[in-house]
Each structure stands twice: as structure tokens, then as C-alpha cells.
Symmetry: C2
Subunit: 188 residues, 2 copies
DNA sequence: CGATGTGGTTGCACTCAGTGCAACGTGACC
DNA sequence: GGTCACGTTGCACTGAGTGCAACCACATCG
């Protein structure tokens, strides 16, 4: 199903801006790059930058529109018969593969404590699909549903921070799986 | 041990600004209050506001200096013989008592999705004492240490979101305990 | 007690993030 | 070919956050 021309162009512009942002910020650092710099490098106006992204940090960390679709697809397809946690493990491990385009750059950026905060907020967005799925799976226990969602976030963040930019991206996937297993086993 | 006069005044100014910030923002909303408004209400200059807090959001969510001391004290005193997770449970439950001064207002603010993000970043600060303690407890397994820290954060955040502003603050403490127990048991 | 030093406070000027608005240009649709 | 919808652009504006230099109050020492 080919996307409409309009939407196609829109996503190309989106990708051009994010690409320029990642490039410039990884070279010079977050504070040394202005929105005007990024917009100019991407060949769009400053105002258009803000049509694509609400903030400067969003240009670095917001997920690609396709990613949100993909996560939703994975959640639809997964079999939760063995419990929500194993299902979520499978979904996250699958999802996290094929993120290597942005993985390394983002990991380097997050060395800066300030950007770590931005990074975490970006994940709130992606998490919404997961929140809805969990609410449907555990309709009678919203507390546990929320806790499972936050715990999955904790695992992903831990793996992300434990992964080193020099490592193979596959190692990140492995760390995610290990984190899920540790939490599944419990801390008692 | 009475604090030096200088430090005493400093903390009074700090508290005055935070108090004014919580008051105004809970009345009008985050975006409808400027830093100038807060500074004026606290009886200090705009520039002094930024001497106390690096950002507007920090004035709402940054922990009181005494809180950091208290958390450090609790961590020093706790007995970790039964494992790090039970110890952390005890520390957090203790710590979370006596936070009722800011609990209700903050919970109301976080209804706004944007401020939820700010709130989470503020916790990174408090968590540093916990990070150091965990690194000392699990020197040979930094991955688990990080995961435990993130999981404790997940529990606190879940309890905070599950707690309702009309509830008794004691209920929040109870929810924290319940969250720790659920994670201790595991999700398998 | 008076001189000196240290550190928080203040005002000023500046950069830059983010927003509202109105004009424009280009695909979509009949 | 006309018109409609929508993303793009420029412009002007608010407000967050910072660097700097002057100022003032508490502290210290002779």
C-alpha cells in the first residue's frame, strides 16, 4: 500500500530534519546547535522545523512514525496466553531490533545528563500503545498494569544505559532480554 | 547543630520560592505563570529565582535540600542483610512518609502530561544517593544495580500515579509498599 | 572596633526556544 | 480548469535561561 504523495513528502521532511539534528548535535553538542542550524542543514525553514517537532529535543528522540505503527502491529500479533510479561518481553525484543540506525547516536547523546531526561520523556510517547494494550489485558487491575508498563520502561532504560556505543547493536537486544528475565524472576 | 546564618537564609529563600511556585501554578496552570510572577510572589528578583533553581519546572519538583540528607541517612542506617530489595523497600516507605507537604499539589500538577515528564526528570536527582548505595551493595553486577534502581523508580512512579489527590497520604505509602512487594514476587 | 574578604542578590542586556497569524504555493478532487 | 485542503514560510512576539558587573550583608582577623 503506497502512501499518498502528500504524506510521503511529509515523512521525508521529517526524516531530513531528524537526520540533520542527530548529525549536528553529535558533532557539536546539544547546546552548541540552534534550531536555525538544524533547519538550515535540513533545507527547511525554522517554522517548518516546529511543524514537525514540538521541541528541539524531540527532533533527536521522537520515534519515527513507522515505529509507532510497528509496535502496535507487534502488540496485536503477540500471544499473551503465557502471561503479559513474557508477551511484553517478546514484543520489546522484537521491537528493539532494527533500531540500530538511531541507537548509537542516541546512546552517545545520553552521556549528557541533561539529555538523559529528554530521552526518558520521549519514551512516554511510545509507551502509550503499550499502556492501551496492558489496560486491555488487565482491565481489573490498573495498578499492576501501570506497574508492568513502568517496569518494562525500567528494563529498556537499564539495557540502553548498560549498552556501550562501541558494542554490537545485537548486544543491546540481548541485554533487554536479560533485563526482562531478571524482573520476571523477582528481587526477593 | 544549628546551621550557619548564611545557609539558614539561603534555605528560607529557597523554600519561599518553591512555596510561591506551587501556589501559583496549582491555581493557574504551568504555562499561565511566568518566572517573574513566581519571583515577585516570593519577594525576590527574577535573577535570584535562577540562583535557586535552574529551570521553572525545578522550582516545582526539585526536592528540598533536607530531603536529600534524609534519604542518605536512611540508606546509611538500613540493614541489607535480607537483600537489597527489601532494604530499599524499607528505605523508600520511610522516606515517602512526611512528603505530604508537596505530595498533593505535585500529584495534581502531573495530570498535565507535559509536567509528568518534568516530574520524572526531577527524580533522577534524588536517585543519585540511591545509585551510589546500590553500586556499593552490588559492586560486581552494575547491570542489576541499575535495574534495581530503575525498578524502584518504577514502583514509586506507579504508586504516585495510582494515588488520587483526594486520598489520604497514608494510602500513598501503602501503595509504595504494595508495588515493592509485587516486583519482589516477580512477573513470571 | 574597623578593615578586608567572601558569597548571595540584583539589574541589565543578550540569545534562543517556542507560538500565533496571515500569506503563499502545491498536491488533491470534482 | 477551478477550487479546496493543507503544508510551508516569514514576521513579530513572549518568555526561559545566561553572563556580567555592581552591590550589599555577613564573616573574619588584626
Amino acid at each position: 500500500m503506497p502512501l499518498p504523495v502528500r504524506e510521503q513528502q511529509r515523512r521525508e521532511g521529517w526524516a531530513a530534519v531528524q537526520s540533520a539534528a542527530l548529525q549536528l548535535v553529535s558533532e557539536r553538542g546539544f547546546d552548541a546547535v540552534t534550531v536555525d542550524d538544524i533547519a538550515a542543514a535540513a533545507g527547511v525553514s525554522r517554522r517548518t522545523f516546529f511543524n514537525h517537532f514540538p521541541t528541539k529535543a524531540a527532533a533527536l528522540f521522537n520515534p519515527h512514525p513507522d515505529d509507532a505503527d510497528q509496535l502496535a502491529q507487534l502488540l496485536l500479533a503477540v500471544d499473551a496466553a503465557a502471561g503479559v510479561w513474557p508477551a511484553l518481553r517478546a514484543v520489546c525484543v522484537d521491537f528493539v531490533r532494527g533500531q540500530d540506525r538511531v541507537l548509537r547516536v542516541r546512546r552517545q547523546l545520553v552521556e549528557d545528563a541533561e539529555l538523559d531526561a529528554y530521552h526518558r520523556t520521549a519514551h512516554l510517547h511510545v509507551g502509550q500503545a503499550m499502556d492501551r494494550w496492558l489496560a486491555a489485558q488487565l482491565p481489573d487491575d490498573p495498578f499492576t498494569a501501570r506497574l508492568v508498563a513502568e517496569s518494562a520502561g525500567a528494563v529498556l532504560m537499564t539495557a540502553f544505559l548498560a549498552w556501550h556505543p562501541d558494542d554490537d547493536p545485537a548486544r543491546f537486544v540481548e541485554l533487554v532480554g536479560r533485563g526482562f528475565d531478571l524482573v520476571a524472576h523477582g528481587f526477593s
